[in-house]
């Protein structure tokens, strides 16, 4: 499920590029797919926030006959699911949990990934060996299967699902962070900081991490998409949180009625697709913006 982050360590070797953010932003804005992705993402987030805070509908309420097609009945714009619950209401209310799982799982991924990668890359030696073995261990573990075991064990809830996704997804981030740290710690300005007696903690936090950030931001962005897909996969397999409507759960619940009605499966699927698509476009855009090699062409 997880994709390989194509983000590469930035090739800039000069300290002037320490703050490439402004330039990258300009580059990002020239990238049409990325801007499209950003606009799409903003629209989706607005939709979800409206559903969460501005919209009073009850996604569990049965409003009309089961499996009513979109547009057949006025007010039921996207049709109903297998119970006759309004799909649009479901989409509105199901967005927040979906995004929440995506973001919190990505957050966990990034936190573990950066912690492991930074320690391994900065200190090297036995610490590096130990942490990299740990990383390999989690890479060898079949991710979806292991997440299923975890969710089965702790019984499915948004929290356990985010946790399970985070636990299985961090190795690529850790590797990326480590590579960045390995590269940056040899650079002149780090040596300089060390020579004036800066503490390790200060060097990690204030000197190396800010410079390693661009590819990590890309990676974090893409991880949100991965996590959303992951949650959908678990829900599809019947391991979603049954008490919280999410887009993945909507697909899973309506799957048995696919032959009669495609819309209760297709519509939440499209919502997931658009979200992940937007997130990926933004992630790719950031990647291109931070990566001057592609820029030069």
């Amino acid at each position: 499920m997880a994709r390989i982050h194509t983000a590469k360590p930035t090739a800039t070797k000069t300290p002037e590029a320490i703050s490439p953010m402004g330039e990258a932003w300009g580059q990002f804005l020239r990238n049409r797919p990325a801007v499209f992705g950003l606009v799409l993402l903003a629209a989706i987030v607005a939709f979800v926030l409206y559903g969460r805070y501005g919209f009073a509908g009850d996604p569990y309420r049965i409003v009309w006959g089961p499996l009513t097609a979109p547009g057949v009945r006025e007010g039921v714009y996207l049709g109903t699911d297998f119970l006759g619950r309004d799909l649009l209401t479901g989409l509105l209310k199901g967005g927040a949990p979906t995004l929440a799982v995506g973001i919190s799982a990505a957050f966990l991924t990034v936190v573990i990934g950066i912690a492991v990668g930074a320690l391994a890359g900065f200190f090297g030696g036995w610490m590096d060996d130990l942490l990299m073995r740990l990383t390999e261990f989690f890479q060898v573990l079949p991710a979806l299967l292991f997440a299923m075991v975890l969710v089965t064990l702790f019984s499915p809830s948004l929290f356990t699902i985010s946790f399970a996704i985070g636990i299985v997804s961090w190795p690529p981030t850790a590797r990326l962070t480590r590579a960045e740290f390995l590269r940056i710690r040899e650079l002149e300005y780090v040596t300089a900081a060390r020579s004036i007696g800066a503490s390790n903690r200060r060097i990690i936090w204030r000197v190396i991490l800010p410079n390693a950030l661009p590819p990590l931001i890309v990676s974090a962005t893409l991880t949100v998409g991965v996590a959303i897909l992951f949650e959908a996969g678990l829900s599809f397999l019947g391991l979603g949180d049954p008490n919280t409507i999410s887009w993945g759960l909507m697909i899973g619940q309506n799957r048995g009625y696919l032959l009669e009605a495609w819309w209760p499966v297709a519509i939440p699927g499209i919502a997931i697709f658009l979200t992940v698509f937007a997130v990926s476009l933004v992630g790719d855009g950031l990647n291109d913006a931070f990566n001057p090699k592609l820029r030069s062409r």
């Binding site: 006959g65 119970l83 006759g84 019984s155 048995g256 032959l259």
Partner: protein, 525 residues
């Protein structure tokens, strides 16, 4: 309700065929039948394994002493005749003398005795052969079953998947029968023998040429294809990739019922009597109060469940005994949607609404892996109970043992469940209501229901041979549990048989869970 679609041409053809004579009534030999199954059998030996998935192939491979037809009448099978003793404490089976197992060894009374005692010791249905003390074998073709008390369900227990005759020379080798290697490569004396078994994928059965009934089976073979996804099951029947199947999914039943060339019928499940119910843990508040249980029953619109959720394909089920059974009591208390009454009962029970209109929160478990058949009823109940101020928290179990463990240990409040009647109340009904059967095991009296009169009535009905007397006893039993509601019975799970119109398939109360040696294709497929 028999949904049979024929083209005008088809109808015309059958009229013509009738006109020509009885030519088409003569069974034709040959052809194969592909059955699609949504469930995976653990293995193929019904002697130590209950359930439809094992029963369908198991009854083709193993023959049983008797058969039963669609009217609950018994017929000879491995036993060509049988006699009750006058005191009702022994039953003599006279076996056919030409039956052999698939490995060529003759079937004898010793195998019958061995099988019955093995089933008694290992089968989950302990009441089935509970009163059997011994099986005597005076000669190779006579078996006498000796009982400690009269047993009204004995003949039924000798039919279909309940009493497969397994070979003593294979299973008597001292290994545990429950995980005997032969359960995956069974040797029986039934009309078909196992050709290939790919667990979780396909079971291929081929005609057994030395079957003891001359000229049978008519089919050359039966292939059982295991397909776990309900939509795929439907599609494979629709496209003709499979010829027959058992389905429980309302949308599949409706869709296939409207498909040309397919017969879809609820017949053939009178035996298993699958009841979908909402179980209450009667030991814990607030469900220890009968008024709360009744209020929940009054909150549900059975018509909506039957018509909208089940699309009119499921039968109503008001009580503990399946409504198609002769023992069902139609006058027992019933509950229909009455929200005012439900609210009043809850107020009376001392659970007033709070400022937000809520009375209490309660958890409902669901049995995992049956989503499409019953997944929508729990969702509906949740929506509906909100109307009377009860918040339902759904607790799904990620896997079967988690759910079974919760129910068995009493760690639940309400749970959706499907429980089978298995033909006679003695086998499938008593276990849920007897106070002596409150055990930490799934599908026992996990509700913790205790009523001394019920215990008495069931004990008596279980050792009375006279059908009318039993009916009266069960009528009173149903009145009591109907009023006290240890479980709320909702509907019969809509099990349906589907098969190609060109297949002649006699459906007994066991449906495809009995020998299909009489099944044939009326024309080439």
């Amino acid at each position: 309700m028999l949904m049979k679609r024929r083209t005008l041409f088809g109808a015309l053809a059958s009229v013509l065929a009738l006109g020509i004579g009885l030519a088409t009534a003569q069974p034709r030999t040959g052809g194969e039948m592909v059955i699609v199954s949504g469930e995976n059998p653990r293995h193929l030996n019904p002697a130590v394994q209950s359930g439809v998935a094992t029963a369908v192939p198991g009854t083709q491979i193993f023959a049983s002493p008797l058969r039963v037809d669609e009217n609950w009448n018994f017929h000879p099978y491995l036993a060509q005749s049988w006699d009750w003793s006058d005191d009702g404490l022994s039953l003599t089976l006279n076996l056919v003398d030409n039956a052999v197992f698939h490995d060529g060894v003759p079937v004898t009374s010793a195998d019958v005795a061995f099988s019955i005692m093995t089933i008694k010791a290992n089968h989950p249905f302990q009441t089935m052969f509970g009163p059997v003390e011994a099986v005597d074998t005076p000669d190779p073709h006579t078996a006498i079953i000796r009982l400690s008390a009269p047993h009204p369900a004995l003949l039924l227990a000798l039919t279909g998947a309940l009493c497969p005759i397994i070979p003593q020379h294979v299973y008597g080798d001292g290994q545990d029968v429950r995980d005997h290697p032969a359960n995956n490569a069974p040797v029986g004396s039934g009309p078909f023998r196992l050709a290939e078994y790919r667990p979780g994928e396909q079971i291929t059965l081929e005609r057994f040429d030395d079957f003891f009934i001359d000229g049978r089976p008519y089919l050359d073979g039966i292939t059982i294809r295991i397909v776990r996804d309900a939509a795929s099951v439907t599609l494979s029947l629709e496209s003709g990739e499979a010829d027959a199947g058992i389905i429980t999914d309302a949308s599949a039943i409706t869709r296939l019922g409207a498909t040309d060339g397919l017969t879809v019928t609820p017949r053939g499940f009178e035996g298993i009597g699958p009841i979908q119910w909402l179980a209450f843990n009667t030991r814990v508040a607030p469900l220890d109060d009968v008024r709360v249980r009744q209020a929940i029953a009054y909150s549900m619109d059975r018509d909506f469940i039957l018509n909208a959720l089940m699309r009119g394909v499921a039968a109503s089920q008001q009580g503990p005994i399946i409504e198609s059974s002769p023992f069902f009591n139609p006058d027992m208390p019933s509950y229909n949607l009455d929200l005012d009454r439900a609210n009043a009962l809850l107020d009376e029970a001392g659970y007033p609404r709070d400022a937000d209109g809520n009375r209490f929160t309660i958890t409902m478990d669901t049995i995992p892996g049956r989503d499409s058949a019953l997944g929508n009823v729990p969702e509906y109940l949740r929506s509906q109970l909100r109307e009377v101020g009860i918040n339902v928290e759904l607790r799904t179990s990620p896997d079967f043992p988690t759910w079974a463990g919760r129910l068995a240990s009493g760690d639940f409040q309400m749970s959706m469940d499907v429980v089978f009647n298995w033909g006679d109340p003695v086998i499938g009904v008593h276990r849920t209501y007897l106070s002596s059967n409150i055990r930490p095991v799934i599908w026992s009296n996990t509700q913790g229901y205790v009523n001394a009169r019920v215990d008495e009535l069931l004990a008596e009905a279980g050792s009375t041979l006279d059908t009318d007397a039993r009916r009266a006893l069960y009528a009173e039993f149903q009145d009591i549990v109907g009023a006290e509601l240890p479980v709320y019975w909702i509907n019969a799970l809509p099990y349906h048989h589907v098969f190609d119109d060109r297949i002649e398939l006699p459906l007994s109360i066991w449906g495809m869970m009995q020998s299909m040696d009489e099944v044939y294709w009326t024309e080439d497929r």
